[in-house]
């Protein structure tokens, strides 16, 4: 639940999603669900020369199971709050 909550606080922010096939997609985080499936709007693929597959795609859904990393903008996460939430989760409630 912790990561789901974390991603919900990031809705609207600009993120970069790196997939397990090395594809990197940047866009505004539109929504996220319990499986950490991600919807991005206004997407842009890094290295479009090599990856022309998504040239005519502006909004996309990414399955949570194929995400390797999500790069977050600096300062988007309040580390203190995350710290406390992590401890609370570890205690089991």
């Amino acid at each position: 639940m912790l990561f789901f909550s974390l991603f919900k606080t990031l809705v609207g922010k600009e993120v970069t999603v790196e997939l397990k096939n090395d594809l990197c997609i940047s866009g505004a985080l539109h929504s996220v669900d319990q499986y950490l499936n991600i919807k991005l709007t206004n997407t842009r693929v890094h290295n479009e020369q090599k990856y022309p597959h998504m040239m005519s795609v502006r909004n996309c859904f990414i399955r949570g199971s194929v995400v390797r990393y999500v790069h977050l903008p600096p300062g988007a996460v309040d580390v203190e709050v995350l710290h406390d939430a992590t401890r609370r989760e570890a205690r089991g409630g």
Binding site: N21, D22, M55, I62, R63
Partner: protein, 100 residues
């Protein structure tokens, strides 16, 4: 969940692009889906990329059913932009498969 939904509902009936875990690229009209991302695509074409020649389009007249656990990306196609793309001029290596 509040406001924004991670649901494919809005895409039903429109042109979508699907990239599968084995690196294949399909473009078709989304006719149906379920909660595990099983997809039904009508008038579906597979686009085969090659570094040496242009994109080869394999048109399927029927309906494709793609199992959800094999789906990596579902993208909304801007049909105007897609129509303007000259597929025969694109040179790109095929996508590598997803490696978990």
């Amino acid at each position: 969940m509040s406001g924004n939904d991670t649901k494919l509902t809005d895409l039903v009936g429109s042109q979508v692009t699907v990239i599968t875990n084995d690196g294949k690229h399909y473009v078709g009209v989304l006719r149906g889906y379920d909660q595990t991302w099983n997809l039904l695509l009508q008038e579906c074409q597979e686009r085969v990329y090659s570094a040496k020649s242009g994109v080869q389009v394999i048109q399927n007249p029927g309906i494709y059913c793609i199992r959800g656990d094999n789906v990596a990306i579902v993208g909304e196609v801007d049909e105007e932009a897609d129509g303007a793309v000259d597929l025969s001029a694109i040179r790109a290596a095929p996508l590598v498969p997803i490696r978990h």
